[in-house]
């Protein structure tokens, strides 16, 4: 077992950490308060090569591995979780799907612009009546000559109003259920496409979450990703990297909770001593640190398995499940350690707690991930998971 990062992974982590601490963290509270999209930080991240970082250099990426991608997302989310989810969606879903499942023409048309940050990516599967039961989606796509005509409403789309390239799922053959789902690459200027309501969220308030409305939306056939009926398979395979990305976001938030709590516990004095001297506080810090570290290792292990071409569906689900719940526990403890001040917007832990809450809900609820893990365990021919 080797827990050492490679030189490239270490340098990427350190560079993104320095950027996040110096340029992102000072903006995070204001972006959250004003619900302001992190436009400038995203442009700077594009300049550094973080957007589309796992794409090969011929498409404008840095050719970094999934472990590096997770390390970068941890550092970004530690400073600003809204920016974290924005980058995560862009990198781990949009870019990955176009690269893994797109045609060469689609890669050439979209990936360089996505890596330069000229286009932002989105992923649109959820609908008002189709969440965890993703295969029950109602949006339809009917082929008319060299176009598809899409109708339906999509919900909770991260980057929805900002994206220039949206991976969107619709049914080309509703009676076939999940086998009738097809993936499309939608541009916002396609006729019949419009952005619906912008959601007013509890946390991640600087990120963009919208409804998308398709009214006879005209999509050229060359913007179909994969074959008809392959959409659900594409969605599920891509969600593995997406889940590792969200797990990384959770680790970043949990680390931020721990950092803030250690700082506060050393400064805050009660009964004549810093509260860090009290064992009740020490145990909280120890639990937070242990859980954050466990979440980090699960996340990096899932990412490392993906990089080595090993199965990682269960590992990604374990990482996302544990990290998202650990981040929520850490955030709750961070607020508790801060006492009354933790409840105020003057201290960052209030934001961390709001930001952490959605982690157990999006990209598969905790309940769905327990189901995925259990099904793998109880499968007639379970794949024994090696130690690394």
């Amino acid at each position: 077992m080797d827990f050492q990062l490679t030189e490239a992974q270490r340098l990427i982590r350190d560079t993104v950490r320095e950027f996040a601490e110096k340029e992102l963290a000072p903006l995070a509270a204001e972006l959250d308060r004003l619900k302001r999209y992190p436009e400038k930080p995203l442009q700077r991240l594009a300049e550094l090569g973080v957007l589309g970082m796992t794409m090969p250099p011929e498409y404008g990426g840095a050719g970094a591995d999934t472990v590096s991608s997770c390390l970068a997302l941890m550092e970004i989310s530690r400073a600003c979780a809204s920016t974290g989810v924005t980058v995560s969606l862009h990198n781990t879903l949009t870019c990955e799907i176009i690269y893994r499942h797109g045609t060469e023409d689609q890669r050439q048309r979209y990936l360089p612009a996505l890596c330069r940050g000229e286009l932002l990516g989105a992923f649109s599967l959820t609908e008002p009546t189709s969440g965890s039961d993703a295969a029950s989606l109602r949006t339809t796509a009917i082929r008319r000559g060299d176009r598809y005509v899409l109708n339906g409403t999509k919900q909770f789309v991260t980057n929805g109003s900002r994206a220039g390239a949206i991976i969107l799922f619709a049914s080309t053959d509703p009676p076939r259920g999940e086998k009738g789902i097809t993936a499309f690459l939608i541009e916002p200027l396609f006729p019949g496409f419009r952005v619906g309501k912008r959601e007013d969220k509890m946390g991640l308030r600087a990120s963009d979450t919208t409804e998308l409305v398709l009214e006879d939306c005209q999509v050229p056939v060359e913007n179909r990703i994969g074959e008809e009926g392959e959409g659900f398979k594409i969605a599920l395979s891509s969600l593995v990297t997406g889940r590792a990305g969200i797990a990384a976001q959770a680790v970043g938030i949990a680390q931020a909770c721990l950092d803030a709590s250690i700082r506060y516990a050393k400064e805050r004095r009660q009964f004549g001593q810093p509260i860090a001297e009290f064992q009740a506080i020490q145990w909280k810090l120890a639990n937070m640190a242990t859980e954050t570290e466990a979440a980090r290792l699960l996340t990096l292990r899932a990412a490392a398995r993906k990089d080595r071409g090993l199965p990682c569906t269960m590992e990604a689900s374990m990482a996302k499940l544990f990290a998202s719940e650990a981040a929520n526990r850490s955030a709750a403890e961070a607020v508790q350690i801060h006492g009354g001040y933790g409840y105020l917007q003057d201290f960052p832990v209030e934001r961390y707690m709001r930001d952490a809450r959605v982690l157990t809900i999006y990209e598969g609820t905790s309940e769905i991930h327990r189901l995925i893990v259990a099904r793998q365990l109880l499968s007639p021919s379970p794949q024994p998971s090696p130690p690394v």
């Binding site: 490239a8 340098l11 973080v50 840095a62 050719g63």
Partner: protein, 266 residues
């Protein structure tokens, strides 16, 4: 235009003060597992070199004397898109005093090939020494300009902006020369780009030892040190809080000003 930038790896000055420790016997900082970075002014020097390369072409080499872990500093410099790196690492050499260090660096520079320009930070980020630039110049027999923010090339000569109290001097100097770099708005170190990091990680960096450099054994190592740190300590900080009363903000401000004057703070 070939520029060699001498860089030093130090403990990150941003670490919390309570993590900073001194070894009582060696009088040196204890590195332990603390985060290590390139000394701040050396980072400025790297930036100056990279800006110069962007304007006039050529290449930049980062040179570092340090422990084997200082390869991390070289890799960081390569990540900033420096062309080449050389690490000099041999435990006995690390016991040298500044005169010994300069002899080692000068020999390494000669082995690389004396470039058009040698840059150093103006102050060492950990020990506070300000001698590297001038001593390297002396050793190599080159002119030296210190406390410089920017280097340009004009009519085949260097035009350097030297920061002085309340202003600056523009100094013209012939290449090759040695320049020590000060921190300035014009030389804020750039972030590495991920593409450059991926290239840097794969680059081979030579590590030179005593035998590779033809060093004068009388001038390097602990035995040759002419300067010795006799004592060093971490200043004790005591903080206490005073609350000043007052009916109005003006009254409180006046009391604060008086109290600060009494404490000789203002």
């Amino acid at each position: 235009m070939h520029t060699i930038v001498c860089i030093k790896q130090i403990i990150d000055p941003e670490i919390p003060a309570d993590q900073f420790k001194l070894d009582a016997s060696t009088k040196r900082q204890v590195r332990g597992g603390l985060s290590l970075v390139i000394s701040a002014y050396d980072q400025n020097a790297l930036e100056v070199a990279l800006q110069l390369r962007e304007k006039v072409g050529g290449k930049v080499t980062a040179l570092c004397l340090g422990e084997s872990g200082a390869m991390g500093a070289i890799k960081t410099a390569l990540g900033m898109a420096v062309d080449e790196g050389v690490l000099v690492s041999d435990p006995p050499l690390l016991e040298s005093d500044p005169f010994g260090v300069v002899h080692i660096l000068a020999k390494a520079i000669q082995k690389i090939g004396v470039p058009d320009l040698v840059l150093t930070g103006c102050v060492s980020g950990d020990t506070g020494d300000k001698v590297m630039g001038p001593l390297i110049a002396e050793e190599l027999g080159l002119p030296c300009v210190t406390f410089v923010s920017k280097v340009e090339v004009k009519d085949g000569k260097a035009l350097v902006r030297r920061i002085v109290e309340d202003g600056y001097e523009l100094v013209e100097a012939a290449f090759p020369l040695v320049v020590s770099i000060i921190s300035d708005d014009s030389n804020v170190p750039r972030y590495s780009k991920l593409k450059d990091i991926m290239v840097a990680a794969k680059k081979q960096v030579p590590t030179w030892k005593t035998a590779d450099l033809g060093l004068d054994g009388e001038r390097v190592g602990a035995g040759a040190a002419r300067l010795q740190m006799r004592d060093v300590s971490i200043p004790e900080r005591d903080s206490k809080c005073e609350i000043l009363d007052g009916e109005t903000p003006e009254e409180r401000a006046e009391r604060l000003a008086l109290r600060l004057r009494e404490l000789k703070v203002i």
